[in-house]
């Protein structure tokens, strides 16, 4: 197989990797915030449920979670869902990353001094206004380095979709390497992951810089 053919075959895998990455972020960044807020709910059963969820997600391998989401509907519920592979991957990633983001958000929210809430309350801001206008913007700045870390991990974690034989770049690299007895697919995959993460670093650094105007 020629290099250019290899590259173009693998580029389809890059797109699939990109899709997992983008959809996971799109789902888990907001879901993580909801989880972080529910963790502080006044309704105790909900609070406990959230803690158990975070604990289970962080305490078991993502690879296992992928298998559970994919095979669970059949083994647990007897359901045969057509075309479930890709949705299962996205659900597994979103549910997994939301737990981690929730803990990052929580750390950020808890680091905002009580005085900020009090100043806002005395000025008459509603609870929603206080959160959206005063607390959240400060939280975002504080958590940026941790979020960057998590996003970079996600780029590499997409390779775990390999477990469900989804033809993202890692699966393709392994396949093509075996069939062509070539080392080159691994090099291509490695370079791809590195460039993707380099782009993540640049973008996140820009975002961090845009919030440098205050301390």
């Amino acid at each position: 197989m020629e290099f250019s053919v290899m590259l173009s075959t693998m580029s389809a895998g890059m797109l699939r990797t990109g899709a997992i990455f983008a959809l996971t972020l799109l789902g888990s960044l907001p879901l993580g915030m909801i989880v972080a807020l529910l963790r502080k709910s006044r309704f105790a059963p909900l609070r406990i449920f959230i803690r158990v969820y975070i604990s289970v997600i962080r305490g078991t391998p993502l690879m296992l979670q992928l298998l559970v989401w994919y095979f669970g509907p059949y083994y647990l519920l007897g359901l045969n869902i057509g075309g479930w592979r890709f949705p299962a991957i996205i659900v597994a990633f979103v549910v997994n990353y939301a737990a981690y983001f929730a803990e990052i958000y929580r750390g950020g929210i808890e680091s905002i001094p009580q005085g900020q809430y009090e100043a806002a309350q005395v000025l008459g801001y509603s609870r929603a206004q206080t959160f959206m206008r005063i607390i959240l913007p400060q939280v975002v700045k504080i958590i940026m380095p941790s979020v960057t870390n998590e996003v970079i991990t996600l780029v590499k974690d997409t390779s775990m979709a390999f477990t469900l034989a989804y033809a993202e770049i890692f699966s393709l690299a392994k396949q093509i390497s075996a069939s062509q007895t070539s080392f080159m697919p691994f090099v291509i995959a490695g370079v791809f992951y590195f460039i993707a993460n380099y782009a993540v670093e640049i973008v996140m650094a820009r975002i961090e810089k845009s919030m440098d105007y205050y301390k």
Binding site: E118, G124, R133, I134
Partner: protein, 253 residues
């Protein structure tokens, strides 16, 4: 009467922080509250500004009840959310730690609440803010951010931010305690200026000479009760209670 507090009770756990505290604040009056730490001064301000809920007693703003004692349970009941919002609009609080919003420019710190809470237009809010900053002597800082200002300047911004809400009464919770000694003067000067303009104010302070110079009335608190109150001359120079004398003697040294 701007504010009437009647038989206010407040407990933290088993500790009675406020025990049957009663006092009135008249329009244009400047009242200083002094007393040792842990005497309940700050808690009293926090109850008056609705940051803490009382366990019993009446809070009456402009003749209108914000909180009262329930006859049956003996506990406190608060007015509905809509009314409380109105009462919150009457009062402002300046904190010991300033609590400016670090991500907002000085201008936005002052204009955001009038615009987002009271629905004031940007032009009016900004014109007000410029006027207030001029009064505070920091009109050149409008575009800066809190971290670029000294403590004394930050506290003056905090005062401007509170005043922008067109208050009936402004509370100060040890406004100079977090400041270096050379910066307290500029903040006290601003408060004095407000007193001269007949702003109704309640100031928790450890600055005795300031309390003497500015206030119409001084309240001495200890152990969750008002030990004595009266004119600055009476309370600070001729205290009738032994506990007041003890407390004041610390400052004479």
């Amino acid at each position: 009467m701007i504010l009437e507090m009647k038989k206010i009770r407040k407990k933290f756990g088993g500790l009675e922080v406020l025990q049957d505290i009663s006092f009135d604040i008249d329009s244009g009056e400047v009242v200083s509250i002094i007393g040792p730490s842990g005497s309940g001064k700050s808690t009293l301000l926090r109850c008056a500004t609705f940051l803490e809920t009382i366990d019993g007693g009446d809070i009456i703003y402009m003749g209108d009840k914000a909180a009262w004692t329930d006859e049956q349970t003996g506990g406190a009941v608060y007015a509905n959310a809509q009314k409380l919002k109105k009462f919150r609009g009457y009062c402002g609080l300046v904190f010991q730690q300033f609590n400016l919003f670090p991500h907002y420019s000085i201008m936005k710190n002052i204009t955001d609440a009038p615009m987002k809470v009271q629905g004031m237009g940007r032009e009016e809010a900004e014109a007000n803010a410029v006027e207030l900053l001029r009064k505070m002597g920091i009109e050149d800082k409008a575009d800066g951010y809190p971290y670029q200002l000294s403590g004394g300047q930050q506290q003056r911004v905090a005062i401007a931010r509170a005043l922008a809400m067109k208050l009936e009464i402004l509370f100060f919770d040890e406004p100079t305690s977090a400041l270096d000694p050379e910066l307290t003067g500029e903040v006290l000067k601003v408060i004095k200026q407000l007193a001269d303009e007949n702003m109704t104010m309640v100031v928790v302070t450890h600055e005795m000479s300031f309390a003497k110079a500015v206030s119409d009335r001084v309240i001495f608190m200890d152990g969750g009760v008002i030990v004595e109150q009266g004119t600055p001359k009476d309370v600070l120079e001729n205290p009738s209670e032994e506990r007041t004398r003890q407390f004041l003697s610390v400052f004479e040294r």
